[in-house]
Amino acid sequence: MQISAAAAAAGTMVGCKGSLSPWRCLTRDEAATLEALCERIIPTDQDPGAAWAGVVMYIDRQLTGPYRKLRKTYRWGIAGTNQTSREMFGSPFAALTPPQQDSVLQAMDSGKSHGDCWNQVSAKSFFDLVVSHTMQGYYGDPRHGGNREKVSWKMIGLPYPPVRGRVTR
């Protein structure tokens, strides 16, 4: 009940307000949920995961630019993720254990999640979107807000900075 009210409110205030939020587009709560979601897509192991790398910073920044058309999708999608989490485990997504979070994401990925938010945007397409944006924020150029300290490039062994003016013969 509380969630659908919040979601309905969110639907009407699409825009980059967030007066009390440190983010450009997302609210504090939305960012926390999204960060937990991205972290499951690229989790921390011996190398930092999506949260530390600043993937949410990347997404938030793009929502004010090239991805501005996707603001509503994110609003509904994040609300839907929490709705599905509550339905399955009784708590919002960020409060679940990693295995529980994975179950929620698997339900979304296979289109088996329920909730009225998913009438606005399909769970599967929202999850696909977040997977691709997480990859961009983690493996893309740090200039766009993610890949903090070139963490992914160090991880995979991409030489940086690149060699300049190399003798080729």
Binding site: M135, Q136, P162, T168
Partner: protein, 550 residues
């Protein structure tokens, strides 16, 4: 406003338009070259892996922009989608001086003899308008040579026993081999294939007043930081301007080709960089705007004498849109193969372009350009999950040990794969936009499966412990290799232009770009576009009588 009349106005400063401008200007004609994009330089290489012409997730670095341009795509179920240039379904090619040649990977292939005689070689194909070209490889050969020497091609195809005879060797040697090249070469030889160095429109040694490649990893999709890639923007267009006969106007969007009461074209109407409508009168009009934008302009140029648009008396304008069904395979190696030496693509085989049992055509196979991390993030064997710890682990362990081999399958032209103009949607200038519909021929996917199996075999021989195929979908093809929409032919009822790219029923109108391709070869088409531009310009100069065509 009306501009002073010139001898020729050319729409589009890309691979073909730049060459036509230079050839006509050097022959003494006054030329106006109109380009809707900007003139970028090597300084504009931002090395932005998310915003370039190859990976346009955050936009196209060299145009067109998402704000002012759009197209309508009709999918297989008949549903319409409004698509922006950064969306793959838009089938974009760069909009800037140099066009695609400004940021391409720069493979400079000649088509093979059989690529011009597909119908005679293989016979009719059901559901396809497959035909022979009205010109042969031999007709085009001198112009291939001219393109190789004037624009600049490096490489060494002496070991390619399938190539057609060439009158002159390539002007520049290939780059020294990378680790991947060495592995693949030895493997191909063990399989009794014929590997050779890809011809590339790239300086490997100082040539034409510019230096050689410094082998960085930002190649295809990017501007060359050291200006070693050869396009029309750094070769023929500066030469055209140096004659004093050619004016280049950038950020000019052409709305319509104007016609008179005698069925001839008289010039073009365009919006200049400040959005003002201009009229440019000319004796000759050349349309070199790409295989999607050229038919759009012809179809948008309706008049009393041409109610269906120019050149469209028999409804062939915009038909037969094709590109390449890219296919191939990935292989994981036991030891590291990544040596950070660009451009990456270096070794090819033409063993499977023709003569594949039971199949029509085929494809050249070669190793891939360096895959940036964000590109590699989309690559994994089918058993690795799309997300989670296992995917991250795969990235960490295999980025430096993955080799890709792929090739462009020669597509069967399909009459219903087409460019129209949309009846409702317009761009920011109020011009009706491109409406794309149709899909690939099923035969293309069959060939792709066969070619992929050959790519996997090559990778396995090179030491891959695991391989998996890369296969195309049945969607509409076009992309940066878009071609076919204003077919060249002898019969005005089944083609749009004649062998010299002259529109059949409008003698002073030419379409010179990949639109005229009857078939698109199993190769990247840039050098063929250039050769055709040289050939068509030579004929225009020959026919020029001072005030118009004969």
């Amino acid at each position: 406003m009306t501009q002073n009349k010139v001898n020729a106005v050319i729409v589009g400063a890309g691979a073909a338009g730049g060459i036509v401008a230079k050839e006509l200007a050097e022959a003494g004609l006054t030329v106006v070259l109109l380009e809707r994009g900007k003139w970028y330089t090597a300084y504009d290489c931002r090395k932005d892996d998310l915003r370039n012409q190859r990976t346009s997730l955050l936009g196209c670095a060299f145009g067109p922009d998402d704000d002012r341009y759009r197209r309508v795509l009709v999918d297989a179920s008949g549903q319409e989608h409004l698509v922006a240039p950064s969306d793959g379904a838009y089938n974009n090619n760069a909009a800037c001086v140099g066009g695609g040649t400004f940021s391409y990977g720069a493979m400079g292939w000649r088509f093979l003899e059989k690529d011009f005689r597909m119908r005679s070689t293989y016979g009719a194909v059901d559901g396809s308008t497959l035909d022979d070209w009205p010109i042969t490889y031999q007709d085009l050969e001198p112009y291939y040579t001219k393109a190789e020497w004037e624009i600049g091609v490096s490489g060494d195809d002496t070991n390619n026993i399938f190539k057609a005879a060439r009158s002159k060797p390539l002007p520049m040697p290939p780059l020294p081999p990378s680790r991947e090249h060495v592995l693949l070469k030895a493997a191909a030889e063990r399989l009794h294939l014929h590997p050779f160095d890809i011809p590339m429109l790239r300086n490997t040694v100082p040539y034409n007043g510019r230096g050689g490649c410094m082998r960085c990893r930002w190649c295809v999709g990017f501007a060359c930081e050291v200006d070693a890639k050869c396009g029309t923007h750094n070769t023929v267009i500066p030469r055209a301007l140096a004659t004093g006969n050619c004016t280049l106007r950038t950020e000019c969007v052409v709305r319509k080709i104007a016609t008179d009461d005698h069925g001839r074209v008289t010039g073009v109407e365009y919006f200049d960089e400040r959005g003002r409508l201009q009229e440019q009168a000319a004796d000759l009009v050349v349309v070199s705007a790409s295989a999607t934008e050229s038919p759009r302009l012809l179809l948008n140029s309706k008049s009393r004498l041409f109610p269906n648009g120019l050149g469209n008396r028999y409804d062939w304008v915009g038909r037969n849109l094709m590109g390449h069904a890219y296919c191939g395979a990935y292989g994981l190696m036991e030891s590291e193969t990544y040596d950070d030496l660009g451009p990456g693509a270096s070794i090819a085989i033409c063993d499977f372009n023709h003569g594949n049992p039971g199949l029509v055509g085929g494809a050249m196979l070669c190793n891939e350009f360096i895959r940036l991390p964000i590109q590699f993030a989309a690559i994994a064997p089918p058993d690795v999950p799309r997300w989670g710890a296992a995917r991250k682990d795969f990235m960490r362990n295999h980025f430096r040990r993955c080799v890709a081999v792929q090739g462009p399958v020669q597509e069967m032209p399909v009459f219903e794969a087409r460019v129209q103009v949309d009846p409702r949607v317009t761009d920011d200038w109020g011009i009706p936009v491109v409406r794309l519909s149709g899909s690939r021929h099923p035969q293309d996917l069959e060939v792709a499966r066969y070619i992929s199996s050959k790519a996997e075999a090559w990778l396995k021989e090179a030491g891959a412990t695991k391989t998996w195929p890369k296969l195309p979908g049945k969607v509409l093809s076009g992309g940066q290799h878009q071609a076919g929409t204003c077919r060249m032919g002898n019969d005005p009822k089944t083609s749009v232009v004649n062998r010299y790219c002259q529109v059949h029923d409008v003698p002073n109108l030419h379409v010179i770009d990949a639109s005229v391709h009857v078939t698109n070869g199993g190769f990247n088409p840039a050098l063929t576009v250039m050769a055709i531009a040289y050939m068509a310009s030579a004929q225009m100069v020959k026919d020029w009588k001072g005030t118009g065509m004969r």
